[in-house]
Amino acid sequence: MDRIMSKLFDQGLHDRTFFTIHLKDGTVRCEKEHNWSDFSEMRIVEYFGSKKTVAVSTLPILKIEMYHEGMHEEIDVPENCEVYQAIRSETFIVQESKSQILGRIIGIIKDGQVIEERYLDGTDGIVKGMKL
């Protein structure tokens, strides 16, 4: 197993789920070599009438792409907006605790409020989302 695959595998991911971000300085970063936790900060934001904890990128991102189990979504980040992403997982409490990755999330924040979120649902094989 090469170094990149090993990194994803050790984190509990696999090569069929990863983000790619396009920065304003022209560089491109992929989850296969970069960790979102290295350039993000946790924040509680307004989320369609309630609140949500998100890991917001501290880097200026032009576009974010997300790949998950054959699905692909990309969002061009509007001016004065920020970006977050996350892995959604599930653990069942029965017989023994087992965890599985359900899907991937990408979202856009403006003025402390989520204005768009897309969920690549690996269980249903479709992309779901909400937008203000």
């Binding site: 050790d10 069942f92 017989q95 269980t123």
Partner: protein, 185 residues
Amino acid sequence: MANAPILTVRSTTSPFSALFSIPLVQTSPSGNTLPVNQGETSNATLFRLYNNFGLSSTIASAFNIQITAFDGAGSSSHTCIGSPASQCWLMIQQYGFGENSTTSPDRFSYYLDLLTPIGGSGPCGSSVYIPSIGSDGIFGSDQIRAYSSGNGTGFIEFSLEAQIPSGAGYNSYNPAISVIYEWIG
């Protein structure tokens, strides 16, 4: 780099052994375990949901935690055909929280939240419970950290009970409690 959260269900008393089922029963005055009668409520059972009880290194926090119920795991996961899931017989509430760089002392803090039904059928699992306080003790954080370092452990303690409606009849059920959360690597 952070690795995926390692969530396990454990006892609330030392040595916090892993639990492989959460029986929902009633207890007779003499201490015998009995099934739950229709129209009545089971004993409340306490359990802890730990992140990184095994003290691995660089473990991510599990945030945006939502708890619901389905018919079971495996092939029954995400279905709500059975009454416990579809009619929200299961009720859960946060009972406490804690974190530490080691598993003992557990630094438990008590917090009793609102008892909430979980499960539902419109769609399946739509009735969810969101903890009010995270393992870090912050109100509204709804997360379980692996301590502040990512190398320790954190937990939220819950109280679970089953409220069986009148006319439920005689049946045996094994619903599954689902914990959905988000994390970053």
